[in-house]
Symmetry: C2
Subunit: 200 residues, 2 copies
Amino acid sequence: MQLLKDRIRKDGHVAPGGVLKVDSFLNHQIDIDLYNEIGKEFKRLFSDVPVDKILTVEASGIGLACITAQYFGVPVVFAKKSKSKNIEGGVFSSPVHSFTHGKTYDVMVSVKFLHPDENILIIDDFLANGKAAFGLLDIVAQAGANVSGIGIVIEKGFQKGGTQLRSMGVNLHSLAVIRSMDDEGNLEFDDDPEPAKLEN
Amino acid sequence: MQLLKDRIRKDGHVAPGGVLKVDSFLNHQIDIDLYNEIGKEFKRLFSDVPVDKILTVEASGIGLACITAQYFGVPVVFAKKSKSKNIEGGVFSSPVHSFTHGKTYDVMVSVKFLHPDENILIIDDFLANGKAAFGLLDIVAQAGANVSGIGIVIEKGFQKGGTQLRSMGVNLHSLAVIRSMDDEGNLEFDDDPEPAKLEN
């Protein structure tokens, strides 16, 4: 998705430790017009599969899932990362290790909101080693539902998550796949003719 | 907002401990059509004040803020509840006690995303004792920005947050104000002629 790649080039930067910072438009401050373009693109990419519900995980996936759901005309369910008084009764649960937060937590969905044979589209902002995606796949499997696909905004193609998911036959679409990046701000998308510097 | 009150009557219920459960349509599974009606209603209620940006707090405020922002044509900023690698540099920060999670955490916004004299509309799903709202007000004040208003989906009118905010002169609009509720499923909105049972 060229609009997204251009925006990453313009407003993204690489922080020490290999963290791609897109917090000015994607996951702290949010450009709603860009989210809508992302939602339309997911609809285009997943127009040939049945989608009854969109599943994501808190926190930064929620806005993307809600805007995207408008183009599919379906509800959103977001997995929670901590047991709260807001989940009662049984849950589908899977442990996920977060690179960003440096800890393992359980992602949880109430058994009330995923049902056998429902067709689930998973949406998230980032895919790196795939831990969150595998947690959500596990939860969908526990429910006996079907995964119609996984839509990712930014995939770190140099980490193993995308390769693993594709080798499993998962219908995965990532709107921008990063082939390489470094602390000097060099960033290469999978379809770039040559690497280019981020603008800041 | 009658549509919302009707939905709470139909699909909400009171869990032990005085927790109003609206997780089938508002804050775990999300009815996107309802969110859009909520967004339109916030636009109507705040049409006479300047709004440059919508501020909310993760997690369940994010989807509401994103859908609502479409009607204002402004970006969203969501405050984070934990320091992660995704916030670098300075932050505006305020301690908030969560009744739902039974602990105190800091809400944080990068100094990059709130600026002096910006007009900020705060959006959240619940208002009870007002802890989250006061935390966000504190953050806006730290930034030197202006609060144009606070839009709340469900206010527990029998707790003190709404009264305190209104007495401070805050431009607060709540789409449904609950005057009383109990563990037997009796729930009364502020404009009900008489209390009525939730349907389940």
